[in-house]
């Protein structure tokens, strides 16, 4: 059984009558020790999915799913109190903007020790020693003095290391990294990614990496789910999916990487934008932008179907490479 199992998850916002579905019929599973990437444009529902799972939507969104379980526990039915025993301990999360993710009024040490105190009941010298150990684990130089530092005294990269220390404090089984490097400099990005991947290997924890950086996913992930407009468009193992994308959206996404654009050709783009609340097509959500669109795509919504290397949500997947008409 998978560590994290999500089946047919939908998250709706707004009124009952005219809801906006930020996530629709999402399936996802993560096994222990596995790195799974979720890629997609802004507004494709990547973060909302994770927030829903963590219980961070605070009653704003309506969450419906056939299954939403972690480590054998049903996250849909457990009480908020039970959920808080899992969140921050067995599932930890780091966020996009480390500079604003730490509380400016408390020292770094306090914010690390807080989790240890709440979840593991550590006190006194033991608590301090463990916090220092975590600071050293995430390779923060002069860790001892940095425990007393306030977040505004740290750089973005250092702040993200502190966030990772907080997340790893209770040895989580699953770490969710929501665009962990987006707000950082390129050189720091690589350092933070290396740190995350090393820690993942060391501890054999599951890592769920949300990003829109395909290169990062290609390098580190075992499996990847491509999201579009709140749905998983395609899911598969990493080398295969990148070599032979079968969903037109994945295909377009990969051809828009500058390295793939050979010679003096213009960079390939997919015209249009992700549909929002008011312009959701009745058929396949990609149909207004899809170069391979057929009559059926405009009328019906495709379900997700499994194939040899993964699964795809398309009536006419690109098993044989064809040129866009």
């Amino acid at each position: 059984m998978s560590l994290l199992q999500i089946k047919n998850l939908s998250v709706e916002f707004g009124s009952e009558k005219n809801p906006f579905r930020a996530v629709e019929g999402l399936d996802l599973s993560v096994d222990q020790g596995e790195i799974v990437g979720i890629v997609g444009e802004s507004g494709s529902g990547k973060s909302v999915t994770m927030m829903a799972m963590m219980g961070l939507l605070e009653g704003q969104g309506r969450i419906v799913a056939d299954e939403l379980s972690f480590d054998g526990k049903n996250l849909l039915t457990i009480s908020a109190r039970e959920r808080r025993k899992i969140v921050g301990k067995d599932i930890a999360m780091i966020f996009q903007d480390p500079m604003t993710s730490l509380n400016p009024s408390y020292t770094v040490g306090y914010q690390i020790m807080e989790v240890l105190k709440v979840h593991q009941g550590l006190r006194g010298a033991e608590l301090k020693a463990r916090a220092l150990e975590l600071m050293e684990l995430v390779e923060i130089p002069a860790a001892k003095t940095r425990l007393e530092a306030y977040p505004h005294q740290l750089s973005g990269g250092m702040s993200q290391r502190v966030m990772i220390a907080v997340a790893l404090a209770c040895n989580p089984k699953l770490l969710i990294a929501d665009e962990p490097t987006t707000a950082l400099d390129v050189t720091i990005q690589a350092q933070i990614m290396d740190l995350l991947v090393n820690l993942q290997k060391e501890r054999n924890m599951a890592l769920l990496m949300i990003t829109h950086d395909l290169a990062v996913i290609a390098e580190v992930a075992h499996r990847v789910a491509v999201m579009y407009a709140g749905q998983v468009a395609e899911e598969g193992r990493v080398p295969q999916l990148f070599r032979h994308p079968v969903h037109p959206y994945t295909n377009a996404l990969l051809s828009s990487i500058p390295e793939h654009s050979k010679g003096a050709r213009r960079l390939v783009t997919l015209p249009g934008i992700v549909p929002g609340q008011y312009d959701r097509p009745s058929g396949c959500l990609l149909s207004p932008r899809c170069p391979y669109v057929q009559e059926r795509c405009r009328a019906e919504r495709p379900g997700i179907t499994a194939h040899e290397h993964g699964a795809v949500r398309c009536f006419y997947p690109l098993f044989e490479k064809k040129e866009a008409p």
């Binding site: 959920r83 969140v87 921050g88 604003t100 993710s101 009024s105 807080e114 989790v115 709440v118």
Partner: protein, 342 residues
């Protein structure tokens, strides 16, 4: 931080001169002079009037009077009341504890209720409670103090008879002013003579409740609104999401991670309320016959007691300025980003 304090102190000097100039000229713009008011309806021989004015130095041109006044100030001489011949400073120090007691109780009432109402309104945003609190606080903010005081007296003192109408303590008790704070003095008197002074403390509390509520209403409304909007802003911050993602209890998320940061602007507002409280004390003390500096100043204006008005207001203004100054420093302590700024 040292230069910050020095800079703030530098700004105070022109403010002081501004205050002296304003009070000096305003009180002289009111028709009548101390001698006339003292004599009342009875007519006074113009020669006697002129002699009295000369004795008080009020026959001099205004600019000379002003420079005399400033000169005395620099020598630390605040002058004496024209009526009692007591020095302004000693009258002030006798009466100030009464005002301070009232203002502190009003501020505690406003802060405790305001913070609670603001926090709950922010957490339950959009609920009936939220709309109720915001509606009531808007009403409270717009309420004229004298009208609100009279309404409360009519209801609780006259109709229901729950609280006394005016004063600080029933005459039946024998309480010697020691600290000047009636709550403390009454408590000590009751401890010293439990037979005779039974119930003195409770009586002091009952006298204090209505004026404290009246005086605290506007600050309460301001604090509640400020707390609510500040909380709502902080609740949207990334670090509050981080706190939730750490699996912390809602109480911890609200009080440790949200309120602490939301308090920073609220603290400034609470500091600014000291001015409102002093202004409000003048009206409140008059309505409730509360023997504090508000009533003292109103009486002094009534009898054109120039030294009391000028220097009484100067002392009060200095206190307000100093409080705001202290709040600025507290602000730095609450906010590490300012504390650590070079």
């Amino acid at each position: 931080m040292f230069f910050f304090i020095l800079r703030r102190l530098g700004v105070l000097i022109p403010t002081f001169f501004g205050i002296t100039l304003i009070t000096f000229s305003l009180i002289r713009m009111i028709p009548g002079d101390p001698i006339e008011v003292m004599m009342g309806e009875r007519s006074l021989d113009p020669a006697l009037h002129a002699a009295a004015m000369k004795r008080l130095g009020l026959d001099q041109p205004l600019y000379i009077q002003y420079f005399d006044y400033i000169g005395n100030l620099f020598q630390g001489n605040l002058g004496a009341s024209l009526k009692t011949q007591q020095s302004v400073w000693s009258e002030f120090t006798t009466l100030f504890p009464a005002t301070l007691e009232l203002a502190l109780c009003a501020l505690v009432f406003a802060t405790v209720c305001g913070l609670l109402a603001g926090v709950v309104a922010a957490i339950k945003r959009g609920s009936i409670f939220d709309h109720g609190v915001m509606g009531i606080s808007l009403t409270g903010f717009s309420m004229p103090i004298f009208w609100w005081g009279l309404i409360l007296i009519m209801l609780f003192s006259v109709q229901l008879g729950w609280t006394p109408v005016s004063g600080r303590l029933d005459l039946a008790f024998d309480v010697q002013p020691q600290t000047g704070f009636m709550l403390i003095d009454a408590w000590r008197a009751e401890m010293a003579d439990p037979e005779f002074n039974a119930g003195a403390f409770k009586d002091a509390v009952m006298h204090l409740i209505l004026p404290a509520i009246v005086l605290g209403t506007i600050p309460l409304a301001v604090i509640a609104r400020m707390t609510r909007s500040s909380m709502l802003e902080v609740l949207r911050e990334d670090y509050v999401r981080t706190a939730r993602a750490k699996g912390l209890s809602p109480a911890r998320v609200i009080f440790i991670h949200t309120l602490r940061n939301a308090l920073i602007p609220v603290l400034t507002v609470i500091g600014l309320q000291v001015g409102t409280l002093m202004g409000g004390a003048v009206l409140t003390e008059t309505i409730f016959s509360w023997p504090g500096i508000g009533k003292w100043l109103i009486d002094a204006i009534g009898r054109r007691d120039y030294p009391v008005v000028q220097n009484g207001i100067l002392i009060v203004a200095t206190l307000v300025i100093l409080t705001n100054f202290i709040v600025d420093i507290l602000y730095g302590i609450a906010n590490p980003r300012i504390r650590h700024a070079k």
